[in-house]
């Protein structure tokens, strides 16, 4: 169960995508998300699929791994599909009792499901090809103009770094505690909802305790090394835009143009 979570999992590599500046990648992903919402017909999705397929091939990440990222939200995707399928009004094409499916419902459900899938696939590709550190570095730099209006860009980035850093640790810890309690005969996934909630106690209590302990230790360790926030802090690796970033933008702009063109030519749905 815990193994399926690919959030924050990074595949080291040296592909074109890996070498993009994290700032570029974040901005491209934002553009990509806008495009996912901009698409109005299935041909547009075909263009997006092609875009993603090319990116994935270039990044040398196995598509199997990308698709695995969908697993945790599979239930959510299915529910979205079912709700839209049955609750959209329009021309009825099938009915049974109070359930009815409309032509518009089918289209709309397919649309929403595709939208979700494309959002997840795109953002997974970002986290799979960008180390958490690079990601938060890019975020900090992108947010730093807002420091003028007292946005604590460095602190936000630091909190995200720490949070991302600890996701795998906490998952590991949860796994270990679950094993230790199972070894004492705790049954975690059986019984009714109350029994299950009660069965969570032996896992959550040690988990929280260890999370607090870790937070405490980390704070002490940072203070020991004289951490005092972002003011005047220099960095080991400066971010630099390069030629790859230019080509990244050309590629994204091309896709944007194609999608707008498709929208104009084929209209919605």
């Amino acid at each position: 169960m815990l193994k399926d979570i690919t959030l924050g999992q990074y595949f080291p590599g040296n592909s074109f995508i890996h070498r993009l500046d994290p700032r570029t990648k974040i901005l491209i992903i934002i553009t990509y998300v806008v495009m996912v919402f901009l698409v109005q017909n299935f041909i547009g999705y075909a263009a997006l699929a092609l875009f993603l397929a090319v990116c994935t091939t270039v990044s040398k990440i196995s598509p199997k791994y990308l698709i695995r990222g969908l697993k945790p939200i599979l239930v959510f995707i299915i529910f979205t599909g079912i709700f839209n399928l049955f609750l959209t009004s329009g021309e009825v094409i099938w009915s049974m009792g109070f359930l009815k499916i409309t032509r518009e419902g089918v289209r709309f459900a397919a649309f929403m499901v595709l939208r979700l899938i494309f959002l997840i696939l795109g953002t997974s590709l970002l986290t799979l090809t960008t180390s958490p550190i690079a990601l938060t570095d890019g975020m900090e730099r992108l947010l730093s103009p807002f420091k003028k209006i007292h946005l604590p860009a460095h602190e936000i980035a630091m909190m995200m770094t720490i949070a991302l850093r600890f996701i795998p640790t906490l998952l590991d810890e949860t796994d270990k505690i679950m094993k230790a309690q199972s070894a004492r005969g705790a049954s975690i996934d059986s019984g009714n909802i109350f029994a299950r909630a009660k069965a969570m106690v032996p896992i959550l209590v040690p988990l929280f305790i260890s999370a607090f302990r870790r937070a405490d230790e980390l704070a002490t360790a940072m203070e020991c090394r004289c951490y005092r926030g972002g003011e005047g802090r220099t960095r080991l690796y400066e971010l630099k835009y390069g030629r790859v970033d230019f080509w990244g933008w050309v590629y994204t702009a091309a896709l944007l143009a194609v999608i707008i063109l498709l929208n104009i030519t084929f209209g919605s749905f």
Binding site: Y65, I177, Q181, A183, P202, P206
Partner: protein, 289 residues
């Protein structure tokens, strides 16, 4: 009886950080044996013992406990876990109840014992691990590290398993506490015919306690046998990041220096028996000269 047949296990298979932790392990452990498991860090010891009570499922091969295949869907894993008590590495992080006593009772209560029975067993187990009665009503989070460790081990002992597996139970304990726990466990092993698997980085402890030793190296069984067989191969042990007990090293050096000492000395008791007559003889020679 415990049997592993050609068992392999891989962490995160298919991912970029795939790690083959166990590679074709076969072994058999008979009831009533005291088995030591040694190996360098990351050799797969913890992985192997987690297969023995079904916490991990092998990728290939079979794990058989008392004739039941753990990969079989019909096998009731909970019953296996009551039979094979596993105390994980650094078990102090599993404590969660309000009081130490309640925490030790967690396992027995899961077995379906009455509260009274569970508490009786818990008190007995606490006594075995050397936890004083006065601590039992305290919160487990107020204990020291070593006391937490004892409480966690007691939590497994209280289930009275037929097989007891301990993953480095004494790491981080003081020497007196270490000996106390290990000797109580040996005592239980002898009196109640308990099968014990002890994972340890202390060659001395393993030498002193185990009837048989398995040496793991990078997910494979490098050698196995009784302590004198295993510790006779000191060169190979050193190559794979292990060592022999200190007293064995002393004996080896003395033999190299020309003393008449047989191989296979691995406890201070053996050394005492062999070295004392030698010393006496030498003393006599010195006096006679």
């Amino acid at each position: 009886m415990i049997k592993l047949e050609n068992v392999s296990y891989t962490y995160m298979s298919g991912g970029p950080f795939e790690k083959k932790a166990l590679d074709g392990i076969s072994l058999q452990i008979d009831p009533g044996e005291f088995v030591g498991i040694i190996g360098h860090t990351g050799s797969g010891k913890s992985t192997m013992i987690q297969l023995l009570n079904g916490l991990l499922k092998p990728d290939s091969g079979r794990v058989i406990i008392d004739g039941e295949d753990l990969s079989d869907k019909k096998t009731n894993l909970r019953n296996i876990r009551f039979k094979v008590g596993l105390c994980m590495q650094y078990p102090e992080y599993q404590l969660f109840e309000e009081t130490v006593l309640k925490d030790i009772c967690f396992g027995p209560l899961n077995m379906g014992l009455s509260k009274k029975e569970a508490e009786e067993r818990a008190r007995f187990a606490a006594n075995m691990t050397g936890l004083p009665e006065s601590l039992l009503e305290k919160s487990p989070f107020d204990l020291s590290g070593g006391q937490k460790r004892r409480a966690a081990i007691a939590g497994i002992l209280a289930m009275e398993p037929k097989v007891l597996i301990l993953d480095e139970p004494t790491a981080g304990l003081d020497p007196a506490g270490r000996d106390e726990i290990l000797f109580k466990i040996r005592d239980m092993h002898k009196r109640m015919d308990l099968t014990v698997l002890l994972v340890s980085h202390s060659m001395e402890d393993v030498a002193k306690l185990a009837d048989r030793i398995f040496v793991l190296n990078s997910g494979k069984i490098e050698m196995s046998g009784n302590p004198s067989e295993v510790f006779a191969k000191s060169a190979r042990l050193r190559e794979i990041g292990l060592n022999v007990p200190q007293i064995t090293r002393v004996a080896d050096r003395l033999r190299e220096a020309g003393a008449d000492i047989p191989p296979g000395i691995y406890t201070t008791g053996d050394a005492y028996r062999i070295l004392l007559p030698l010393l006496n003889k030498q003393n006599k020679q010195i006096k006679n000269n």
